[in-house]
Symmetry: C2
Subunit: 236 residues, 2 copies
């Protein structure tokens, strides 16, 4: 089927990975040393080193200098959760994305908001509220506060054409982001716009992005629980 010859380091990786996934080597077992694998495959040590190093990065093995390499404890199944721009995500599903702009304003930060954005109380802050549709069905209610220092012209852009996420990533180089995912009931406003009952649980993602010394943006993204879920897959 696959006529192309795999690179040597991929062959070494595949061999070690197969021993692990097929159960021949279990957690804690020693993996052959680099010199052993080097002889077994007839390649240079740099090549073996690259193979095993990548497996270590992937978390399949643990390496200790001076001691050796062992099969890792796989107790931490970790997976990549994509935190993405809603626009790209909907397009990738082959659906149509549209945005309704509910609020675009500047305001003065109260104490709580100022603390979150690391500004002083009373500082000027941009505030937008958007409703995102997937094929005409409301899918995300987005309430966002933006630090003017990170994007001075944020209020002037056409939010029906560019999502705040995309614009902010273009404006302010991202240095850090954190998020949390919770289950909540929607507020009366959120329920009305999302066209759901107030008793219907929602997934709420809160996202904070940092650009250099500034907190660039805080977003609260509300998804109807019946129409949306986060998912992921982990292989190997």
């Amino acid at each position: 089927m696959n006529a192309v010859r795999l690179p040597a380091y991929e062959q070494v990786k595949a061999f070690v990975k197969a021993q692990i996934t097929q159960g021949a080597w279990r957690s804690g077992d020693a993996v052959p040393s680099e010199s052993a694998l080097q002889q077994q495959f007839g390649v240079s040590r740099m090549t073996v080193n690259r193979a095993v190093k990548e497996l270590a990065v992937e978390g399949l093995v643990t390496r200790v200098r001076g001691s050796g390499t062992v099969v890792a404890q796989l107790h931490r199944i970790s997976s990549t959760l994509a935190v993405r721009d809603i626009h790209d995500e909907i397009l990738e599903r082959g659906h149509e994305h549209s945005t309704r702009v509910l609020t675009v304003e500047g305001l003065r930060a109260d104490a709580a908001l100022a603390r979150q954005l690391k500004l002083r109380a009373g500082a000027r802050v941009f505030h937008t509220v958007l409703l995102h549709f997937e094929d005409g069905v409301p899918i995300q209610f987005e309430d966002r506060h933006v630090n003017p220092a990170a994007a001075p012209h944020f209020l002037e852009i056409d939010l029906t054409q560019t999502t705040p996420t995309r614009y902010l990533l273009e404006q302010a180089p991202l240095t850090e982001a954190s998020y949390s995912i919770e289950a909540c009931l929607p507020s009366a406003t959120e329920a009305r716009y999302l066209e759901i009952k107030r008793s219907e649980p929602c997934l709420v993602m809160t996202r904070r992005t940092v650009s250099g010394v500034h907190v660039a943006s805080m977003g609260r993204l509300v998804y109807p629980g019946l129409r949306y879920s986060f998912g992921g897959k982990f292989q190997l």
Copy 2:
């Protein structure tokens, strides 16, 4: 502060990363070629290659053979969501974990369950229901179905001492796992055991693990929305 000298490839990485995070190089801009960086830092090309290759793996740059390296579009903020054993997670928070076993049984799979576990209808399946406590407070309601082919002695273990997640990872080498996170209202049973109202939204994680040709396990993990959230952080 940091008296140790960084490896050469880390210095190259740090340099490129700084240009990007400080905004000197924006999305789509060309990154100097390997030979240029090689001369700039006075190191071999293998060393530069390693540095830039790792940045590509981290998603900061995109490399195209024959063409060059450019700063990546950072539109996909992706972060690692740790899907972990509840036991380890609670211990890491410095709290005490305990388990109450509600159900341990074998049963015959109905059509829906058989399909999910890739078994034939009527096949024998293990079923456990557990309640996990963090410092005595119920934090997770775990309803799990296990394929006997992956763990024949699953029903015999002491589930107050070893979580199913841990046991299964030790028994059956993991080859694949997928999960989804939703917001739901709890069933009457779940609400009673979690000591919450039926109107309180919950985070529900559904996990499926695959070991070789078998689907090893399907778990439904229900967390009270007010007591639990998933979170993560992304840097660089």
